[in-house]
Amino acid sequence: MKNNKKKYALVIILILFIAFFSSQCMMTRTNTESKKTVAVILPYTYNKENSRILDAIRDYSHNNSIILDVWHEKSLSSNELSSIIANEEQNHAIGILLIYPENYLTQQEKHYDYNNVLAITATMQTAFSHYAAFENSPSPSYLLPVSAQVIKKIQDGKTNCIYIKNTYKLGYESIQMLDTYSRNKYMKDISIPCHKVDKAAIESGELDALLTN
């Protein structure tokens, strides 16, 4: 009988240990959220035109627990690009975003055939499997952020209307596409129409948020 009791006691002690360790495990696991990684390759010098794109990417990443690996490159050959992509894939990146690669890719005639790469580009749409770009627009077209002088000119009537390219939307949809790609393995090209801005549009106040700096 005593032997029996010992056996039962052993089982119960084991169960208690399991309970203790598993609850510790649960506590630590739930406190740290798992984050995804996205690689972003930017031109080397800071350009204000990319600022709204980066704003959108950061806003989306903040809300969707994504960590960005940001690379600043002066010039990349096709081999160097593939080595960066390979490194990032080893780092568990769910996708790679190239921002205006025409500024740093040396071999622009080549076709870059990567499934997990999305290029935000103005001139290299055909070089990549997936791209994000603005539709062609009549001039005068401006990228966000638009300077105060331009708006003043519209307000004063010196310019009739302008077309703005919503770089915020471009950046946001690009990283959103990479995020959904990581889930569905499906990526398609993004083409964003330009927004016509005239005096009435400014006065309506709809675009205030985009125009403010």
């Binding site: 119960i12 598993s22 609850s23 696991r29 806003d59 903040h62 952020p145 105060a148 307000q155 948020a209």
Partner: protein, 585 residues
């Protein structure tokens, strides 16, 4: 065996376990429910507190804006004539010293015509602007209008704040409207510090439900996000919990004093769930373990308790199979132990009783065997056959013939086809046959007579009852007698019982001899049946009961009378069939 399914060993722990499981489950459910309501309540409290702080901060900012406005009004506009040079310089200074926060100031008369404006503003008439009409209609308060886009060197936004003023123009006091365009930065800073995330954010609505501040305003303008909580917020008083896109959201609203703006805080309750998953897991695990341990313990304990019962059960089964030597192990708790002990006592008693019954049976068998045996006593047969041969050889054919027929009758009735109880008539015949044989053999040593009540002859009587008494009478009673011996058999009814007397007029027996004969297996002579008087007595007692039997009365020199007392028993089919079954053994 066929009740195995309803075995108490399985049923009882099963019921206990089911009830434990039920209790634990209900505990789990209650706990989860309580904790989730508690957490939700805590979140509501927390959000309320933050809401109050935010509202307070915004109200403080509004206060300071109001004081700037009032300062400008009371210290400049009310004091100086607008034509006065001081008017313009002081106001210009005011603007330059506050250039970080004030974009522009302008003064209008009641028709909307511009009287003075700071550098950034223009002199267009503002008659139709809402802030203008509002200020005109509410002369006591400062009106907070909608936002406007301005673009000095950066594109920024300002609040249009207006109030009714009285200004002096050429010495005359006139009514007008003062407009201040105040940068939204300070209010934005307060709301920016809330640390807005997708699951917990706040936004500010003006009194026409337009967004004054929204953390995702850029996404909203780009068509990437839609704010669904505005209507719900405005309809609820303090807070409301609504299910949007599949998860529950907490929406709290507070109205900002003085301006009629509304601050709305939105929190996702789903996050609380996942963040606190650890607590849920620990509690469920704890309850689960408690449940398992309880179930384990109750099964164990129950087995411990019922083991002795099952051992007892096994013992009883063995006992029932016929293994009467088994004893139950006396272990167990409390009453279970006494159960085993009492069972053992009962088993012993049963054993003893069975032993006794076996003994009695053996005795009976013995006696019946003897009876059987005696039914054919060889000595009597030899002697009588000898006598017959002698008589035939002597030419006493009549005597031999009588002896042979008497012997035949004697043995026929002795056997009586195996019956042990025969009618009294037959028993008397048997007795008389015996007497006749003995009479011839003893050469008329004695005389005998039979006096029987005819009414009693059909009653039953154990066979070979009278003959042993006759044996006694002949061999002991007739000892000292030569030719006037008398043996009388009388059968009469007394006290509703049948009495059979065998009397002789011999020497009689002293008391001691009577005792001796009654209590010992005295066989008078081997020449007789070999059954003693005691045997007859015992048989009668065995068959009829203790109150019947044989009694002997004797008087020395007078004679001896042996009396058989039996009840009146009539012949029925059953009695003899039982009897015949017995003797068949």
């Amino acid at each position: 065996m066929n009740n195995k399914k309803l075995s108490i060993r399985v049923l009882f722990p099963l019921i206990m376990s089911i009830s434990i499981v039920f209790c634990i489950l209900s505990c789990m459910i209650l706990f989860s429910h309580y904790i989730s309501t508690y957490l939700v309540r805590k979140t509501i409290e927390e959000t309320s507190r933050q809401k109050n702080v935010l509202a307070q901060n915004i109200e403080n900012e509004i206060d300071s804006i109001n004081s700037i406005m009032n300062n400008i009004y009371y210290n400049t506009i009310k004091k100086y004539d607008i034509q006065d040079k001081n008017f313009k310089t002081i106001l210009a200074n005011e603007i330059t010293s506050n250039s970080e926060t004030i974009y522009g100031l302008a003064l209008y008369d009641t028709d909307g015509k511009n009287l003075w404006h700071s550098n950034n503003l223009t002199s267009t008439s503002m008659q139709n602007e809402s802030w203008f009409t509002q200020a005109k209609d509410n002369i006591e308060t400062i009106c907070y209008g909608s936002k406007k886009l301005v673009y000095p060197d950066n594109v920024k936004q300002v609040f249009q704040i207006s109030r009714y003023v009285e200004y002096i123009n050429h010495g005359k006091m006139k009514s007008g409207v003062l407009l201040m365009q105040y940068y939204t930065d300070s209010i934005d800073a307060i709301l920016e510090h809330y640390k807005n995330t997708q699951n917990s954010y706040c936004y500010l609505l003006d009194n026409t439900s337009n967004f004054l501040y929204h953390p995702f305003i850029k996404e909203i303008s780009s068509g990437l996000y839609k704010e669904n909580t505005t209507k719900i917020a405005l309809n609820s008083t303090n807070y409301s919990i609504k299910k949007l896109h599949g998860t529950k959201w907490l929406i709290e609203r507070q109205q900002i004093g003085y301006t009629g703006w509304n601050i709305v805080l939105v929190s996702s309750l789903f996050n609380i769930h996942t963040e606190n998953m650890g607590i849920y897991y620990v509690i469920w695990l704890l309850l689960l373990i408690v449940g398992i341990i309880l179930v384990f313990t109750d099964i164990l304990l129950f087995h411990d308790f019922t083991n002795p019962v099952y051992q007892l059960l096994d013992t009883m089964q063995e006992f029932g199979k016929g293994n009467y030597e088994v004893k139950a192990a006396e272990n167990g708790i409390g009453e279970l132990k006494t159960l085993s002990a009492h069972f053992n006592i009962m088993a012993e008693k049963l054993q003893n009783q069975m032993g006794e019954i076996r003994r009695n049976e053996r005795e009976k068998r013995k006696m019946e065997k003897k009876l059987l045996q005696s039914q054919i006593n060889p000595h009597f047969l030899y002697n009588t056959l000898d006598s017959i041969i002698w008589m035939i050889q002597s030419g006493e054919y009549k005597g031999a013939e009588q002896m042979v027929s008497s012997l035949a009758k004697f043995f026929r009735i002795s056997l009586s086809q195996g019956k042990d109880i025969i009618p009294l008539e037959k028993e008397l015949e048997h007795a008389t046959s015996y007497l006749a044989i003995q009479n011839i053999r003893f050469k008329d040593k004695f005389e005998f007579s039979v006096q029987a009540d005819k009414k009693l002859l059909h009653y039953l009587c154990p066979k070979l009852s009278i003959q042993p008494l006759l044996e006694n009478a002949i061999y002991h009673g007739m000892e000292g007698v030569y030719d006037d011996g008398e043996i009388t058999i009388s059968v009469y009814e007394k006290d509703n019982l049948i009495h059979i007397d065998v009397s002789d007029n011999g020497l009689g027996m002293p008391e001691k001899v009577v005792e001796y004969i009654m209590h010992n297996r005295v066989v008078s002579s081997k020449r007789g049946s070999g059954i003693g008087v005691r045997n007859v007595d015992e048989r009668i007692k065995l068959i009829y009961g203790e109150q019947y039997g044989v009694t002997i009365e004797s008087e020395l020199d007078e004679g001896t009378t042996a009396t058989i007392i039996i009840p009146k028993l009539e012949e029925t089919a059953e009695i003899n069939s039982d009897e015949s079954n017995k003797t068949k053994l």
